[in-house]
Symmetry: none
């Protein structure tokens, strides 16, 4: 699980340290690497580990084989994603095209989003975070939106399928 936001600097060789807590989350992956997609939805990179890439592969594989959307996705997603291997100190080297796509010069922000994380130009991200947070405050003031998030699913229901949560209930330290 990728959580929290942190800033790092890309050096002259376009290397950036991936936050240690993110690397920890990737510890059991088959490759010591991250998969990175210059997202077509904006100037940022969408990244993650094995789970991230498999999710995309499966979503695409589940579409009919000669479907237009599928073909587009194969090219735009799989054709754009790259696997970036960690060096011995936990850095990855960002390809020039990725740097260009996300407007990264120097500082960049890592934003955790559970199963994936994003990399943004640091200033852009700061502004964006502000905007999102206030937009959200407004939205949740609307009862309909508030119900969409919260939606009746409570912890108890989740726990039925989660061993770790059940252990928590029983008082075990995790």
């Amino acid at each position: 699980m990728f959580l929290s936001t942190s800033e790092h600097t890309a050096d002259a060789k376009n290397r950036v340290s991936v936050p240690a807590s993110y690397r920890e989350a990737l510890r059991d992956d088959p490759y010591d690497a991250i998969y990175v997609l210059p997202h077509f939805d904006g100037p940022f990179l969408e990244c993650g580990g094995e789970q991230f890439i498999q999710q995309y592969r499966m979503d695409i594989a589940n579409l009919p084989r000669y479907d237009r959307l599928r073909k587009d996705l194969e090219v735009a997603v799989l054709g754009s994603i790259r696997r970036l291997d960690f060096d011995s100190t936990g850095r990855v080297t960002l390809p020039k095209e990725f740097i260009a796509h996300a407007n990264i010069e120097g500082r960049c922000a890592f934003v955790g989003c559970d199963a994936h994380f994003q990399i943004w130009n640091a200033e852009t991200q700061t502004a964006r975070m502000q905007a999102i947070r206030s937009r959200l405050a407004e939205r949740l003031a609307d009862p309909a939106e508030a119900e969409r998030m919260g939606g009746g699913t409570d912890l108890g229901a989740l726990m039925q399928n989660s061993e770790s949560l059940q252990a928590l209930l029983k008082g075990e330290k995790l």
Copy 2:
């Protein structure tokens, strides 16, 4: 698994370097080679390794023996595919007909699509990628299309409660 797009040059002898990461993906194949099909769907070459050719063979073999589609596919697919062996530096020599079919003169682009990859004229591919990415951004802004891809299946949620799924993913070298 073939991922990402990269450009290479075909030299005077029609040799092109296959991206190192693709060669890595083919490492366990019985031949040090790729299978290449001048695709009937456009000016590009569809390529892959053992998995790629076997998929086509099976699709065709599964059709009724005297089926017209089957006979057509046998000719158009199996009759057109060639196996191109790597030289000692990881290049293949493209036959003239393939060069002509895909309009390759000099630069060409390799586009990874998971189990196969495509080779395009570099400029054609650049334009095409642009078009696909913006088309996709628009399409996915439509909730109905977004749902087709993603469709409610959340691998991450599944995996948290399924040891067997996790084991499956970790054991699978892709």
